[in-house]
C-alpha cells in the first residue's frame, strides 16, 4: 500500500507501492517543520496585486435522478423553505443557488440511450459521437461524448499556471470505462478518467509538497530531457501517418506536452492553510460498504488540492450513470438504479430514493463545510469557488432529463448572487454552462451545441 499515515515517514523514505514503485518524496512538515517555515519551491504564479484569491470550479456528480417533489424547495426566490432532500444544506442557505427547471435539451439530438446521453451530455451539452463503440444496455450505437466538457473548458482558461490543470476524483466509479462512467472530456472522444484510489491520489497530488528542492530540480531536468525526446518521436511519426491515426496520436502528444508544461509550473504559491490531508488508517476503497468513507476521503483530497492551489478545477464523481450502489447504511438491500425504476405509486421506494438523495445532500454539506472552514483573505474557499452538484437525469424511472436537480454553492469570488431558489421554466442546461464559463472570464455566450443555447441564465449574478 503506497499511502502511509503521515507522521510515520522519515526524510529519506519513499512511498512504495505494491511493486516497489517509488513515488515522490516525503513531506517536510512530518519532520517537525511547519508549513510556513518550510522552503517554498517552484515559481510564483502571476497574480496581480490586490486581485484576491483565485476563483475555482468544483463539480460533484451523483446518479439516477431524484424525486422532484421531495427535492424542490417550497416558497419563493428568497423566502424558500428547504425540502426533505435539501435540508442538510440549510446552514449554507446564504451561499446556495438552487436551480430548478433546466432540461438537457441537447439530448434531443444524436445517438445513445437515455443514461448514455445523460452522462455524455451533462457537462458537454452536445450530441455524442456517432460510432460503433457502445451498444449498451438497450442502447443505440454511440461513441464517446462529442465535445469538451465545461470543467475542461474552464481549466483550459485558468489552469495553465497550477501544478494540475484539473483533477478528476471518483468514488467507486465502475471499473468499466465507458460512456456511462465518464463525464469529463478534454475534447470529442477524449474522456478523462476519474481516479478512484484515494491513496494513489494522495501520492500523486501531494507528494511534491515541501519536497527537497534540489532533488526536485534534478527530476525535472531528467524528465524534461526524456519528454523532449518522446515529443520528437511523436512529431516525426505524425508526418508519416494517415489522418485518423494522426488525430489519435495527437491527443497523446498533447497530454505529454501538458505534462511538460506542468513540470515547468512547479508548485506556485501555496495557500496558508495548505497541509497534507490525513486519510486515516488505510481501508479497502473498493468495498461497497466503505462508500461513505471513500466519498469523504476524495472530498478531503479535493478540498486540500484547491486550498493548496495545486489546481483550480476539480470534479468529484460519486458512482456513475446507472449507479447500482446498495446503501446498506440506510437500511437498503436493493441497489440505487434498481429502486430508480419502480413506479411512482410505490411510496416505499419513493422514500428510499429520497433517503439516498438526502444522504448525498449530507455528503455535499460535508464538502461545503470543509470548504467554508478554509479562510482566504477575509473570505473562505467556498466563497471563492462555485461548486455545482449535478445529476445525469431528472427522474430515474422514465429516464427524463428534464428538471435536472442542480445545486450551486459558493459565489466564485462574488460573481454569483447566492442565497436564492431559481426556477427556470424548462431552459436548456447549456445555459448553465454558459453562466459558468462567464464566471471565469470566458465571454462566449454559447457552450456545447449552439442551437440549444439561449445565453447565460438570467438572474444568477
Amino acid at each position: 500500500m503506497k499511502y502511509v499515515k503521515k507522521k510515520t515517514l522519515d526524510r529519506r523514505s519513499f512511498l512504495r507501492g505494491a511493486g516497489g514503485v517509488a513515488v515522490g518524496l516525503p513531506f517536510l512538515n512530518l519532520m517537525g517543520c511547519s508549513n510556513s517555515s518550510a522552503p517554498r519551491t517552484g515559481s510564483k504564479k502571476q497574480r496581480v496585486e490586490g486581485e484576491g484569491p483565485p476563483k475555482r470550479l468544483l463539480i460533484v456528480f451523483s446518479p439516477n435522478g431524484t424525486i422532484r417533489d421531495n427535492w424542490l424547495p417550497s416558497g419563493g426566490e428568497t423566502d424558500f423553505e428547504f425540502s426533505e432532500i435539501l435540508t442538510p444544506l440549510a446552514s449554507f442557505r446564504e451561499k446556495l443557488l438552487i436551480i430548478d427547471g433546466l432540461d438537457m435539451k441537447s439530448t434531443m439530438v444524436g445517438p445513445g440511450d437515455a443514461h448514455q446521453k445523460g452522462m455524455g451530455h451533462m457537462l458537454t451539452g452536445r450530441a455524442l459521437q456517432e460510432g460503433d463503440l457502445f451498444t449498451g444496455g438497450g442502447g443505440e450505437l454511440a461513441g464517446w461524448g462529442g465535445g469538451i466538457s465545461i470543467d475542461q473548458r474552464i481549466a483550459q482558461h485558468i489552469g495553465a499556471g497550477t501544478k494540475f490543470r484539473s483533477l478528476e476524483f471518483g468514488a467507486q466509479v465502475s471499473s468499466n470505462a465507458n460512456i456511462w462512467s465518464r463525464m469529463s472530456y478534454s475534447g470529442p472522444g477524449q474522456p478523462l478518467p476519474p481516479s478512484n484510489n484515494p491513496y494513489d491520489n494522495f501520492n500523486r497530488i501531494f507528494s511534491d509538497l515541501d519536497a527537497d528542492p534540489f532533488a526536485l530540480a534534478e527530476i525535472k531536468a531528467k524528465r524534461g530531457t526524456v519528454l523532449d525526446h518522446v515529443n520528437g518521436e511523436f512529431e516525426r511519426l505524425q508526418s508519416k501517418v494517415g489522418a485518423e491515426d494522426r488525430e489519435h496520436l495527437e491527443r497523446h502528444a498533447s497530454s505529454i506536452r501538458d505534462l511538460e508544461t506542468r513540470l515547468q509550473n512547479g508548485l506556485g504559491e501555496l495557500g496558508a492553510q495548505c497541509e497534507s490531508p490525513d486519510l486515516g488508517t488505510p481501508i479497502d476503497y473498493q468495498q461497497q460498504t466503505n462508500y461513505p468513507e471513500v466519498v469523504r476521503m476524495q472530498m478531503d483530497l479535493a478540498v486540500m488540492a484547491l486550498t493548496c492551489d495545486l489546481t483550480r478545477v476539480a470534479s468529484i464523481q460519486l458512482s456513475n450513470a446507472v449507479g447500482g450502489h446498495v446503501h446498506s447504511w440506510l437500511g437498503h438491500s436493493r441497489g440505487h438504479h434498481d429502486f430508480s425504476h419502480d413506479g411512482d405509486s410505490n411510496s416505499a421506494t419513493r422514500q428510499s430514493i429520497t433517503d439516498i438523495n438526502t444522504w448525498y445532500a449530507q455528503q455535499f454539506a460535508y464538502l461545503l463545510g470543509k470548504m467554508d472552514s478554509i479562510s482566504e483573505d477575509g473570505s473562505t474557499l467556498l466563497d471563492n469557488t462555485v461548486v455545482v452538484w449535478i445529476n445525469e437525469l431528472g427522474k430515474g424511472n422514465n429516464h427524463s432529463r428534464n428538471n435536472v436537480p442542480i445545486v450551486m454553492a459558493g459565489s466564485a469570488g462574488g460573481y454569483f448572487r447566492t442565497g436564492r431558489l431559481m426556477k427556470f421554466g424548462n431552459k436548456p442546461h447549456n445555459d448553465l454552462m454558459v453562466s459558468l464559463q462567464n464566471a471565469f472570464g470566458i465571454t462566449d455566450d454559447v457552450f456545447g451545441e449552439p442551437i440549444f443555447c439561449t445565453g447565460p441564465l438570467a438572474g444568477l449574478t
Binding site: 505494491a18 514503485v21 463503440l133 472522444g189 478518467p193 489522418a243 441497489g335 434498481d338 410505490n346
Partner: protein
C-alpha cells in the same frame, strides 16, 4: 486433424464456388498477389492495453511487478478492453506512463551493458540502444532513431553518469509511441483501393498480440528475419506453434471472460438474507466452474464452442455442491460431473451467469434475455423510449415474475423491445438470483416456457435445455461468435470493408466444426489480418 483441414480449406477458400469446384485446383494467391483484391476497413494503431503492457514488460525486462495496475482502466467498448478507436491517452495516463517508466528503468537489469570500461562505453551504449530498442519497438531502429536515443544517454552521462544515461534511454523507449502503440507503416505500394501489405515485423507483432497478448518471442523475430512470415503457410505455422503455448490459453480466457461478462462475477453483491451462502468466495468458485468447463471444450475437446451452451458436463467441488444444494463431488478439487438435464444445460444455467444477469435480490428475465440477445446473437437492442409519459408498473410480491412483467407485453411503448428480451429470460425462471434451482416461486409452480424470435432458430422452448438445444444449432449464434472474435482479435468493430474477412471466417468456422482454436488460427489468414488500409 483439425489443423490440416483448416490449412487446405482456407487456401482454397477464395476459389471454391460451389459443389462443382475442385478445392485446391487453383493456386491460392500469395499475400502479394492477393493485394489487388484485398479489402479491409480502416483501422487506427492499437495502443497496448494494461494487460498487454504488463505482459510486454514481463517479456522485455523480466519485470513481473504488475506495473500497469496504476494506469486508468482501459476504455471498454463492445464488451472488450482493446478497441483501438475507443482508446484515449488522458493526461493522467501520460503521467502514469512517465512515473512507471522511471520505476521500471530504475529496476531493470542492465548488467550486460554496465560492465563496460570507460573507453568502450560508446560501444555499449550503441549495443544497448540497438538490442533493447529493437525488442522494445519490435523492429530494428533506424539510424536516426538510434542517434536520438544515444543523445539522451549522452545527456544523462554528462549530467550524472553512464548508468543514469542508460536508464534514461530506457525511460525514453518505454514512453515512445513505437513501444506503446503497434505502429504499422506497411511495405510496398498500396493497391488501387488503398490497401497495403505489412512488414514481416508487423505481422510478427500481430501474431504475438493475437495469441499471447504480448510482444514477439525470439522465434518470431527470427521467423520475421528469415522471411518465414512472408507466406500464408509460414504465418499459419507460427500460429500453430503459438496456440499450443500456455499463454494462448490465458489469451482465450481473456476473450471469453469479456464476451460472456464473466469478469463481473467476482464483484457481485447479493442480499444474503434472501440468498444465504452467497459470498465473494462462492462467486469466485462459480466463475471457476464456468471457466473450467469452457477451457475443457476449447482445449481438451476442441469441440464446437456452442456446446458450452448445451453440455450436461460441468466441473464443481464440494463447496459448490453445498452452495447449489445439488449432488456433487467432495473436497476442494474441481471434478467433472453431470448436470441433471431436466434442470440444467450448459453455462447459461451456471450460477456464474445466472447470478450476474440478475438483481441484488432476485433473478431477472430481462437481464438474461438481453444477455442472450446481445452476447450470443449479436443483436443490438434499441434504447428504451425517451419520453416521460411512461409509468413503470409496481411490483406485486404475490405474483410470479412472469405476471409482474406482463405490463411489458401489454403496453405498446414497452412491448416492442421487451417482447424480444423477456420471453427468452422467462426460460430461466427455474433459477433464482444466484443460480439455485427452484420448482416454485411464492408458492406458485414455475412456468419456464420461453420463446425465441428474430433468429434462425425461432420458436417456443421450455427451460434451460430447451433453449440450449436451439443455441447449439443456430447459425446466428455461430456467426455472432465470429463477430465477437473479430472485435477482440482485431481490436475494432467490423466495418463495411470487412465483409470478405467475415465471410471467410464464417465459412471456415463452420467447416472446421466450430471450435475456437481453429477460428483463431483462421483469423491469421484473412484480409483483415494480412493487410492494412492506408488511411488518408
Amino acid at each position: 486433424m483439425h489443423i490440416a483441414l483448416t490449412f487446405s480449406l482456407l487456401l482454397g477458400l477464395n476459389y471454391a464456388c460451389g459443389a462443382d469446384a475442385d478445392i485446391g485446383e487453383e493456386e491460392t494467391p500469395t499475400i502479394e498477389e492477393g493485394l489487388a483484391d484485398a479489402n479491409v476497413a480502416e483501422a487506427v494503431f492499437r495502443r497496448l492495453t494494461r494487460m498487454e503492457y504488463n505482459n510486454t514488460i514481463r517479456d522485455l525486462l523480466g519485470d513481473t511487478s504488475d506495473p500497469s495496475s496504476i494506469f486508468p482502466i482501459d476504455e471498454e467498448t463492445l464488451s472488450f478492453d482493446n478497441n483501438a478507436r475507443g482508446q484515449n491517452v488522458s493526461p493522467l495516463l501520460a503521467e502514469s506512463y512517465l512515473t512507471v517508466s522511471e520505476t521500471l528503468a530504475a529496476n531493470a537489469d542492465l548488467s550486460a551493458y554496465l560492465g563496460c570500461s570507460s573507453d568502450s562505453q560508446q560501444t555499449c551504449a550503441n549495443d544497448f540502444v540497438r538490442d533493447v530498442g529493437k525488442r522494445a519497438y519490435r523492429r530494428p531502429l533506424t539510424e536516426s532513431e538510434v542517434q536520438s536515443l544515444l543523445d539522451v544517454i549522452a545527456w544523462g552521462e554528462e549530467s550524472h553518469d553512464f548508468e543514469t544515461g542508460l536508464r534514461l534511454g530506457l525511460q525514453a523507449m518505454l514512453q515512445s509511441p513505437h513501444f506503446l502503440y503497434r505502429i504499422e507503416e506497411g511495405q510496398g505500394a498500396p493497391s488501387e483501393s488503398g490497401v497495403i501489405m505489412l512488414t514481416a515485423y508487423e505481422i510478427a507483432s500481430r501474431l504475438s498480440y493475437l495469441f499471447w497478448n504480448s510482444m514477439p518471442d525470439q522465434a518470431l523475430f527470427d521467423a520475421a528475419e528469415q522471411g518465414l512470415l512472408d507466406t500464408r503457410e509460414g504465418i499459419l505455422a507460427q500460429a500453430e506453434r503459438m496456440i499450443a503455448d500456455p499463454r494462448a490459453k490465458e489469451m482465450m480466457a481473456h476473450f471469453y471472460r469479456q464476451w460472456l461478462h464473466l469478469d463481473e462475477v467476482d464483484r457481485l453483491q447479493k442480499d444474503t438474507s434472501i440468498f444465504p451462502g452467497f459470498n465473494s468466495n462462492i462467486a469466485r468458485l462459480l466463475r471457476k466452474e464456468t471457466e473450467t468447463l469452457i477451457d475443457f471444450v476449447i482445449w481438451e475437446q476442441d469441440h464446437d464452442i456452442r456446446e458450452i451452451f448445451h453440455t450436461s458436463r460441468t466441473f464443481r467441488n464440494g463447496a459448490l455442491r453445498d452452495f447449489y444444494l445439488e449432488a456433487g463431488p467432495e473436497g476442494d478439487e474441481f471434478l467433472p460431473m453431470g448436470l441433471d438435464p431436466n434442470q440444467r444445460a450448459g453455462i447459461l444455467s451456471h450460477g456464474s451467469i445466472l447470478a450476474t444477469q440478475a438483481k441484488v435480490n432476485q433473478g431477472s428475465p430481462i437481464h438474461r434475455g438481453l444477455f442472450v440477445r446481445e452476447q450470443l446473437f449479436c443483436h443490438i437492442m434499441p434504447p428504451p423510449p425517451d419520453e416521460f409519459s411512461i409509468v413503470i408498473p409496481d411490483l406485486d410480491p404475490n405474483l410470479s415474475t412472469r405476471e409482474r412483467f406482463s405490463k411489458h407485453r401489454e403496453d405498446p411503448a414497452c412491448a416492442g423491445c421487451h417482447q424480444i428480451m423477456d420471453p427468452i429470460g422467462f426460460g430461466f425462471e427455474n433459477f433464482d438470483g444466484v443460480g439455485r434451482y427452484r420448482d416454485t416461486e411464492n408458492g406458485l409452480p414455475i412456468d419456464a416456457s420461453g420463446e425465441l424470435t428474430v433468429t434462425d432458430v425461432d420458436g417456443p422452448f421450455v427451460g434451460a435445455l430447451g433453449l440450449a438445444e436451439k443455441l447449439l444449432v443456430s447459425e446466428d449464434v455461430q456467426n455472432c461468435v465470429v463477430a465477437q472474435a473479430f472485435r477482440f482479435g482485431y481490436g475494432r468493430g467490423e466495418g463495411e470493408d470487412d465483409q470478405q474477412t467475415l465471410e471467410d471466417l464464417r465459412i471456415e468456422f463452420a467447416a472446421i466444426g466450430g471450435g475456437l482454436r481453429g477460428l483463431f488460427l483462421a483469423m491469421t489468414q484473412t484480409d483483415a489480418f494480412l493487410y492494412r488500409r492506408k488511411s488518408n
